[in-house]
Symmetry: D2
Subunit: 139 residues, 4 copies
């Protein structure tokens, strides 16, 4: 399993009149979280896209436990729990500064060859960066 922590500061623009982070903005926070998780693996999503691979989201599910609030530095734990093939799943757990659980979520993304508009397998660079986290004993 690959785990990565990302900190995201809540912007005023992202609050709503309940005084909470609007429920739709977590999609953006998770975009930041998975892009930073991939960067930590040595994979720039921008470079991936420039090389002709796009990764649209095909499924997003979030369960809200507590609201995020303005100016909080949220901690998002991002996990890749299985080696991707045609699809990649990211699991997210969001905590506030008091380490209270705010929500849990998952996204599923596919790999698309942007010139042929067709699904393709996960790029080799991503797979080889992930392998060490799934075979920790080198077996």
């Amino acid at each position: 399993m690959f785990i990565y922590q990302t900190l995201v500061r809540v912007r005023y623009a992202e609050t709503d009149q309940m005084g909470f982070v609007y429920y739709g903005h977590y999609a953006t926070y998770f975009e930041v979280a998975r892009v930073e998780a991939m960067r930590a693996l040595g994979i720039s999503y921008k470079s991936l896209e420039d090389s002709g691979i796009q990764m649209p989201v095909t499924d997003f599910h979030i369960r809200y436990k507590k609201p995020g609030r303005y100016d909080e530095l949220l901690r998002i734990e991002t996990r890749i729990e299985e080696i991707p093939s045609l699809r990649i799943r990211f699991n997210y757990t969001t905590f506030n500064e008091q380490e209270e659980l705010l929500n849990t979520a998952e996204t599923e993304l596919v790999f698309i060859d942007s010139s042929r508009k067709r699904p393709v397998k996960a790029p080799e660079t991503l797979l080889s960066a992930l392998v060490p986290f799934f075979h920790p004993n080198g077996i």
Copy 2:
């Protein structure tokens, strides 16, 4: 079952560099869809909030089939499939102008007494507006 159709025009602000509606914006479209569905039932969400009832989202799940695109007039079908009690579920199906299915989604919301910050039952005005759609034969 209560069903309502809402049209939402895709704004340039809501597209991303793939040329698609960014996956997080559907949360906002579904907010519009359920608020308009409630308005059609005679319930203003704004009045509900002014009267002390807030409805935060506790669960959101969306499965993306095809992307929405700039300037399309999306048609969102919103359904309330069961009489709410402590929670209310809305189901959504989004179509583009060619009547292609873009996605299906659900949200679950709770009713909160905003002064006491406690869950409460669905307000009577909402329940009585919904009842005719669930007992169509008057039985």
Copy 3:
């Protein structure tokens, strides 16, 4: 002068924890307003872009008088006060349902040939649609 009225309903997503429309969202409302103003002239911005003309904003200025609020149906008056050439200016005045003035604003946009990435003159279709509003006496 060409004048057009657009109605925009404030979404919950667009409020902030002050209970007001976040100041940055008016840029999106004005995008909606000018696109609808152009559509009323028979010009689809989407078609314009598909035909190779992009219109990025080069200047945006807004003076806020009163805040917009959730669920209000804002009325935006959009004006084109002079025939465009290399640039087009839109002037906006926003009112709430009580006809209170919320803000006044202007945007300046240029016409870009998207293949050559070069500024070009306003397209003929736009100019000929605008002319009648600037020579009302047919002179």
Copy 4:
């Protein structure tokens, strides 16, 4: 004069189908920039608001020179060029990673007593934090 630098990473959510940062999102970036500038002065905007002072924006003007792009780490230089009284002005200059000038902008904000909904003078804590930057010789 008080000057502060803030880095903001462009999110995919903030791009549009031109492949650029949507023009309205700079309002949010400048919110981040001025809040971080104030934090560097020892002033938390959140604490200010909790203590009963709100700072709505009354004027925003931006001149776009070049577009921002996905994943760029934008550098925003924020300047307070004069001691605030009833109003505070922030000036912003945005650069990309190649140190190209993307835009220049200003915002004007007022101080509001949130219980009485009345304008008030800049809080003493802010003034005393700013004074050293305007009288560098201690005269």
